[in-house]
């Protein structure tokens, strides 16, 4: 097997005239073709920065990113475009990620026009299929983002990323604005796509259940570093690092009374 994406000692430092901040501190990951990597971690730990570096949207301060063997920082504009054709990206903030002046239909058509030869009726059919896949009614085709709810926007973002049949799909908090039933539908869809198209996934999520469900491997990030990695099953069942242990323990669920942190927190509050 060969890695579709790999980073080696990746460093990214944000600098402004006032200050600088190291968002990625020697991050090394390898993502094999056809596998699914879950990225979890503290808010602000560099997860979004990592995927922006992978896509070549940010230039690393140090280290390197390779996509299918080629170094991203050395790619020409043309090579970058060719790479991005093979990648579908679902951005973290669904509302901001969509162009406010484009209807749903136009948003989904745009990458199809740029990256495929589909036109006319074929293009319309592809848009229709993309909407069906994420369970958005066809009637929403002509809506603008501000006429949609948060979860509806998020589904447009997912439809857009999957429509072009990419090899690698990067999802930054893809189901955070979805109710559990639609989330189940989307997770089932992603699982089917893995089997049908041999897709590779990178999935950032704060929901450990979602990561457990979809990921083979997981990396845990804290303050710009990877503090734990392994198979999702192992890491989430027997976390070694203290941060991961806290993460697993803090997860509220509806099932067990033992995890009722309501009562606990009521007690903590009245202390």
């Amino acid at each position: 097997m060969s890695a579709l994406v790999s980073t080696s000692s990746l460093v990214h430092e944000f600098t402004s005239h006032r200050s600088s901040h190291v968002a990625l501190d020697h991050v090394t990951v390898e993502i094999e073709k056809g596998t699914s990597l879950g990225v979890v971690g503290e808010s602000g730990s560099g997860k979004t920065t990592l995927v922006r570096c992978i896509l070549g949207l940010l230039r690393p301060t140090g280290g390197s990113v390779r996509f299918d063997g080629a170094e991203v920082a050395r790619m020409s504009t043309k090579e970058l475009r060719a790479m991005r054709r093979r990648v579908g990206m679902v951005f973290q903030n669904p509302v901001m990620a969509l162009d406010p002046r484009m209807t749903v239909e136009e948003s989904i058509a745009e990458p199809l026009r740029v990256h495929t030869r589909l036109r006319g009726a074929d293009l319309q059919r592809a848009i229709g299929e993309a909407l069906d896949a994420v369970a958005l009614p066809q009637a929403h085709r002509t809506r603008l983002p501000h006429q949609l709810s948060g979860g509806q926007c998020q589904r447009v973002g997912i439809a857009r990323a999957l429509a072009t049949h990419p090899e690698l799909v990067i999802l930054d908090e893809p189901t955070s604005a979805l109710d559990v039933s639609v989330q189940a539908q989307i997770l089932n869809l992603l699982t089917d796509l893995r089997v049908e198209r041999d897709l590779t996934f990178v999935m950032i999520s704060h929901s450990l259940d979602v990561v457990r469900y979809l990921s083979d491997d997981v990396v845990v990030m804290l303050q710009g570093r990877i503090v734990e990695e392994g198979t999702a099953a192992e890491v989430l069942a027997a976390p070694q690092h203290e941060y991961t242990q806290n993460l697993v323990a803090a997860c509220p669920t509806v099932e067990s009374d033992s995890l009722r942190f309501a009562l606990q927190s009521r007690e903590e509050t009245s202390k």
Binding site: S19, G150, L178, S181, A184, P252, S265
Partner: protein
């Protein structure tokens, strides 16, 4: 539960969108909600069912094309008939909100510290060091310990979760009586989410405000809410104590939600068959009937109102008592 008169009472709220005089959508179709003082009410429901827009109606920030009818009483005062000027006084003060989308809540060209200072100046007449001290305190309350960096940052310089926390800090600046949280913890890792929910509960305890919490996370509902209201296609289909509703859901829709959670076991997830109607204008009978395992002929004719199944638990389903 609500022995004291409710702080917020929403009765028969309807919201319509119009385009050149024509009604194009009716995303809210008779919502009933009640929040007692010091109560935490959770609102859950399918995407697009009208949660955010109901929150906007309560706050008085509906988009221009939208029109609300019905009653919204806050602290005994009907809000919908108030002039905009008076509603604006409450906003960010007695009622404050944490928006679902952090991007829209901030002005991209001002530093965050300045945006927070503006709130304190407008509502409390505070400025200078006094203002900075309160801001720094609220920021560290929400776990943003590097308060200098955060105050000096522009919105795009913070991660999604950091921005969401700044928003929570900003909503708490004026110690509101009603805090509306629209998906406040979805962009946060669970440890921070837990810390923030604890903080909100702690402040709620100390300051005595009420909370309307919109969330998709049923675990969070169970953990933090006294009561919960389940929305479907612009109506409340079930409401009651959070424990009871999640443990023994009576409405087939709520049952479907609880059943769709990804558990520990893996395997294919159970989603609710079908889709929410694209438009709520033409709905006849119960909006859920087409997706419901228990629907009978009558369901397609009658749109049921909420009826009690116990002293505190209500369900809008003609078969609700038996399921």
């Amino acid at each position: 539960m609500t022995t004291a008169p409710a702080l917020l009472q929403v009765r028969d709220l309807q919201i319509e969108f119009t385009d050149r005089g024509r009604v194009t959508n009716r995303p809210v179709r008779g919502v009933q909600l009640e929040i007692g003082s010091r109560e935490v009410l959770g609102v859950v429901g399918e995407t697009g069912c009208g949660k955010s827009i109901t929150a906007n109606a309560i706050l008085g920030t509906l988009p221009e094309q939208a029109r609300a009818t019905g009653r919204i009483e806050f602290a005994g005062v009907e809000q919908l008939s108030l002039p905009e000027r008076e509603r604006a006084v409450n906003r960010g003060d007695a009622i404050s909100i944490v928006f679902q989308n952090p991007g829209t809540a901030f002005n991209p060209v001002f530093r965050l510290g300045n945006q927070m200072r503006m709130v304190l100046r407008r509502h409390r007449g505070l400025r200078g060091r006094a203002a900075t001290a309160i801001i720094a305190e609220r920021l560290s309350d929400v776990g943003l310990t590097d308060t200098q960096r955060v105050m000096n940052a522009y919105p795009h310089e913070l991660s999604g979760g950091m921005l969401q926390r700044v928003m929570i800090a900003m909503a708490l600046l004026c110690e509101p009586r009603l805090l509306i949280l629209d998906e406040p913890t979805t962009a946060l890792d669970v440890t921070v989410a837990r810390q923030i929910l604890l903080l909100i509960l702690r402040l709620q305890h100390a300051l005595g405000f009420s909370v309307l919490l919109i969330t998709h996370d049923l675990g969070v509902v169970k953990a933090t809410c006294d009561r919960v209201a389940v929305l479907y296609a612009g109506r409340v289909v079930e409401t009651g104590p959070a424990d009871a509703v999640l443990k023994t859901p009576k409405h087939p829709y709520t049952q479907g939600l609880v059943g769709a959670l990804p558990g520990q076991s893996g395997g294919r997830l159970r989603s609710i068959e079908g889709q929410v109607p694209a438009n709520f204008l033409g709905i006849q009978g119960c909006a859920f009937a087409d997706r419901c395992y228990a629907a009978i002929d009558t369901c397609r004719q009658v749109d049921p109102d909420l009826r009690p199944v116990s002293t505190t638990h209500e369900v809008a389903c003609i078969r609700g008592g038996e399921l």
